[in-house]
């Protein structure tokens, strides 16, 4: 069992999410940085769909009732296991916390979200097949609060090693495929300028600030389904890129779809974003 000593500003349980329910208005949710989730799970021998903790910038502190194998991936942050610093190797801090020991994930120095996997996984009750906290709809467990306790599942597999994670870079170039509503804005403008990640970004979407796109078509778009990575342009012309907790339908035009949103999971406010057109 885990006791939360310091929950941090937004620490949630996340796994691969609950895709397949968009027609009921249920967001997919799940870890924003899925490669970091898989990496952490593999280091502790979990299946890829085991639930982990996702922190936001300031980390969290946890006490473990029993001896537990733990892996921390994602954002670069100092980690203390029972007051001793743990070295980061291959994008991961892997260590065993003794019974009664404390894990402290400190403030991230690069990136935004750290992923804490424990052997056996976080064993809260699944909701619609997933243990993910959905910050938009409220499905899944509540965000962590100081004093909460979390059950741990039974460790199963032997740890399997995996490749290097992608580096967290200061400037992002995102591949985007235009459509479905690229005729609603002068989308060529998307590729000619750079944007910055707005501090209003969250698990629902990465909001960009920069040159407002010019509207090419008047009127209002009836609500339609939207996907992960959709570049939605509201009335102010500033694009929003939908992340895991995005709504399932929307009424603003989606001018393109980003092919990999993983870098946005670790992009801090102020990070420069450019777009590259994909076929």
């Amino acid at each position: 069992m885990i006791t939360v000593l310091r929950a941090g500003p937004l620490t949630t349980v996340q796994d691969l999410g609950r895709p397949g329910y968009a027609h009921l208005g249920v967001p997919r949710s799940g870890a924003l940085d899925q490669p970091a989730l898989r990496l952490a799970n593999r280091f502790v021998g979990n299946a890829d769909d085991a639930a982990v903790l996702e922190t936001t910038v300031l980390g969290c502190a946890l006490r473990f009732a029993d001896r537990t194998l733990v892996a921390v991936t994602g954002a670069v942050a100092d980690v203390d296991a029972d007051r001793r610093p743990v070295e980061r190797l291959r994008g991961c801090q892997l260590f065993e916390v003794p019974a009664g020991g404390i894990l402290d994930v400190k403030r991230a120095t690069r990136g935004v979200r750290s992923y804490i996997a424990v052997a056996g996984g976080i064993a809260v009750e699944p909701v619609l097949g997933s243990r993910s906290t959905d910050t938009l709809s409220g499905l899944g467990p509540a965000r962590l609060a100081d004093g909460d306790t979390l059950p741990i599942g039974v460790p199963a597999l032997a740890p399997s090693l995996v490749g290097e994670p992608a580096p967290i870079t200061g400037e992002l170039v995102l591949g985007v495929r235009l459509g479905p509503r690229d005729d609603w804005y002068a989308t060529k403008e998307l590729f000619g300028s750079s944007y910055r990640i707005s501090p209003l970004s969250n698990r629902v979407g990465a909001r960009l600030a920069g040159n407002a796109l010019t509207r090419a078509k008047a009127g209002e778009l009836p609500s339609e389904g939207v996907v992960l990575g959709a570049v939605q342009v509201p009335a102010d012309g500033q694009p929003i890129i939908f992340l895991a907790d995005h709504p399932t339908t929307g009424g603003y035009p989606v001018v393109g779809v980003v092919d990999d949103v993983t870098p946005l999971a670790q992009a801090r406010p102020g990070t420069t974003v450019r777009f590259r057109e994909l076929d």
């Binding site: 397949g20 968009a22 027609h23 009921l24 208005g25 609500s223 939207v226 339908t249 980003v258």
Partner: protein
């Protein structure tokens, strides 16, 4: 029919009217059920059906699957929603329709509705069936908190709030039906294609 690309693995079918959306939605759900179509999500909208997580070549398949116009394949269930018509905006809706509140309630209970699509919140269904002239604008300022079970109107749609949330729809009544419950085998009471009647409780 026009198909638009949505990223690497998504397609958006544009339909001329909501009936065609329902035809396509039912057709695609049936084809997925039978194993002919692989799609992670099939999501109807107001005038579109989105497919996400499809294999390359699916767009070509769709061209051959166009359902015959008016061929209703919907196996949607029938649901009656017992409703107490005491909503705060019932009078304003009646005013917009230029009828008495009693006549507004008669219209609401006499009109067969169909779930067109879902969104906004888990289990929130956009129900259609009212004539276009009955469309009502959203409130100028949304309420910070609309209680769960509120039956409401906006645009040409009726909707029922599954959970308490902020909302700008006009409240005409309330129901004690549970719209969304993750413990049920089918968590949403109202899904696309469901036929709905509001019944005075």
């Amino acid at each position: 029919m026009k198909i638009r690309r949505v990223g690497a693995a998504g397609l958006l079918i544009e339909c001329p009217d909501p009936d065609r959306v329902e035809d396509w939605r039912a057709e695609l759900w049936r084809r997925r059920e039978s194993g002919e179509l692989h799609a992670a999500e099939i999501v109807p909208g107001a005038l579109t059906v989105l497919l996400d997580g499809v294999a390359p070549g699916t767009a070509e398949l769709l061209a051959a699957w166009e359902p015959a116009p008016g061929e209703r394949r919907s196996g949607g269930s029938n649901v009656a929603i017992p409703t107490v018509f005491d909503g705060e905006d019932l009078e304003s809706v009646a005013d917009l329709w230029a009828v008495t509140p009693d006549e507004a309630v008669r219209r609401l209970t006499a009109t067969p509705l169909t779930v067109a699509f879902s969104g906004f919140a888990p289990g929130f269904a956009y129900m259609r069936g009212f004539p276009d002239e009955w469309a009502v604008p959203r409130l100028a300022a949304p309420r910070p908190r609309v209680p769960a079970g509120s039956v409401a109107l906006a645009g040409g749609y009726a909707g029922i709030y599954p959970t308490a949330s902020p909302g700008g729809w006009r409240l005409v009544g309330r129901t004690d039906q549970k719209l969304f419950d993750v413990r049920r085998e089918h968590p949403a009471l109202l899904t696309p294609g469901t036929r709905v009647r509001l019944v005075a409780a």
